[in-house]
């Protein structure tokens, strides 16, 4: 069913009794051209672009839980392309361009809202760093504006500008950044892939990866063995565990990141705002809750929940930025599993096993990358070689020294 104003009106007149399920309950076939392991945002986007761009439709997406139940349903919904380094900037900008056309592309309302992302700076050195970042962005055709203190004040007068320790001196603004309704991204890609013939198989954990003579032959699943010409892994958070089924050891640690939402209030925060003196980012959902987050907890975890010291730290950063949120009650907090890579950048590449492809290492920036990640991973799988946009996200870059370390902190995953 194509969604349109007409379909909305006709369904309204029928008392909303005619809506159909958004995707089929597909039966697992014995063999596929391509199997994508992981039915999250990146896996579903990969399946969609495999079908749409490359015409490969004999594809299954295998998901151990339910579609979109992992990090695509657990993030703070921010999209932006304000990256500094050459390997990153064009990739994330392509993602932003895909976000801009996403809803028309999918015929699905993902509530893409380009409300602007404002990164605050609090010192002369930080202003210089942001000016450099903004210049790098503009050289790559990305929008960036360096704002002084008064321009920021006109935009967000309620911040603590005269904070004794971290006075706000200005900010770097990307107006095309913003937020997207995260679940709708998973559902929209799932629907688009399903309509093009992709089988979406839920509750189907992959328990083994079969390799013969250095070539992939298929995967063992909770529903039996499935033969496959190619297999793509898109299961960030659990990449190490799934790749270990094929005997691969990855440059990744799994860490827990917590996110938070306050009780709903009237429209207050009209942009995405980040605090430059700590790690804190905040936006407001359309339901009115303030959605915010900060650092990862900092230790290996598969527990899907974090600890209280991090919650305290995030809330302290929030209070330093906008003291008025101290009167708000925290409604919920939750955790997600992050593939923390050794340089803070992702991996979209072939593996040493012929026919096995890896999409991993998204740290806690995977959501904004969803469209470009799927697009580039589909290209890499279909053509058996990376696209220019993901050519830098190689698995062997740690051996060759071509690291992409935006923060410059080295091989210490909990610091990225």
């Amino acid at each position: 069913m194509r969604y349109s104003l007409l379909s909305l009106i006709s369904q309204a007149l029928k008392g909303n009794t005619g809506w159909k399920p958004v995707w089929r309950e597909a039966e697992l076939k014995p063999a596929y051209d391509v199997i994508i392991v992981g039915g999250g945002g990146h896996g579903l986007a990969t399946a969609f672009y495999l079908a749409k761009v490359h015409g490969i439709t004999n594809v299954a997406v295998l998901e151990k839980g339910w579609l979109g139940g992992g990090n695509v349903g657990r993030n703070t919904t921010i999209i932006r392309s304000n990256y500094l380094l050459p390997g990153n900037t064009p990739f994330y900008e392509w993602s932003m361009k895909l976000w801009e056309g996403l809803e028309q592309d999918l015929n699905y309302n993902a509530m893409v809202s380009q409300r602007g992302v404002l990164n605050l700076y609090h010192s002369d050195a930080q202003r210089d760093a942001y000016a450099r970042r903004g210049n790098a962005m503009r050289l790559n055709g990305v929008d960036a504006e360096l704002l002084d203190r008064e321009l920021v004040r006109a935009m967000v007068p309620y911040l603590d500008f005269d904070n004794a320790r971290f006075p706000i001196q200005g900010g770097l603004l990307q107006r095309r950044g913003g937020t997207v309704r995260h679940d709708a991204v998973a559902w929209g890609y799932a629907r688009g892939a399903d309509q093009r013939g992709v089988d979406l198989i839920q509750n189907c954990e992959v328990t083994g990866i079969r390799v013969e003579g250095g070539r992939i032959v298929g995967v063992d699943t909770a529903k039996g063995f499935v033969r496959a010409g190619k297999v793509g892994l898109a299961c960030a958070g659990n990449s190490s565990r799934v790749a270990a089924l094929a005997g691969l050891r990855l440059p990744i640690e799994s860490h827990v990141l917590q996110a938070f939402v306050s009780e709903g209030v009237k429209p207050l925060v009209h942009q995405v705002i980040t605090f430059g003196a700590g790690h804190f980012y905040i936006s407001q959902s359309d339901k009115g809750g303030l959605v915010f987050g900060g650092d990862i907890d900092g230790y290996n975890s598969y527990a899907w929940r974090g600890n209280l010291p991090t919650i305290e730290d995030v809330c302290e950063s929030g209070m330093a930025l906008m003291p008025m949120i101290g009167r708000l009650r925290l409604l919920r907090s939750w955790g997600g599993l992050m593939d923390m890579s050794m340089d803070g950048s992702p991996i979209i590449d072939r593996t040493p096993i012929e026919g096995l492809y890896l999409n991993a290492g998204w740290c806690y920036g995977g959501f904004k990358a969803t469209p470009a990640s799927g697009w580039c991973f589909a290209h890499t799988i279909a053509r058996n070689e990376p696209h220019a946009l993901n050519a830098a996200f190689r698995l062997d870059r740690f051996a060759t020294g071509h690291l992409i370390d935006e923060k410059g902190v080295g091989a210490q995953p909990n610091l990225h």
Partner: protein, 100 residues
């Protein structure tokens, strides 16, 4: 999460900082040895590759807001349950004497 420091007793995890996997073996740093393919692979694996298990994980923590000692903590990454805490010094000495 509370870590039972061998020197200070149980303390909240905010008193500790985390380094990571305690089972990694640092290749011998012999300046005279050639940096051949095998040595490069060993260093690459040591610096960049991790087992990253879901389950018991031996890892290094430092009690920075306490005794400042390094600890080897065995912790279940699925539940955050702490199974064992040892002094990193004792672990290193045992490894030196008895091998890992």
């Amino acid at each position: 999460m509370r870590i039972d420091c061998c020197h200070c007793g149980p303390r909240g995890n905010e008193e500790f900082v985390y380094l990571g996997d305690a089972t990694l073996e640092r290749p011998p740093a012999d300046p005279a040895a050639p940096l051949d393919e095998e040595a490069r692979t060993r260093w690459h694996d040591y610096v960049y590759l991790r087992d990253n298990p879901a389950g018991p994980h031996r890892e290094l923590w430092q009690h920075v807001s306490g005794c400042r000692a390094w600890l080897v903590v065995t912790r279940d990454t699925r539940t955050h349950a702490i199974l064992k805490v040892e002094s990193a010094r004792d672990v290193a000495l045992a490894r030196a004497v008895f091998g890992s």
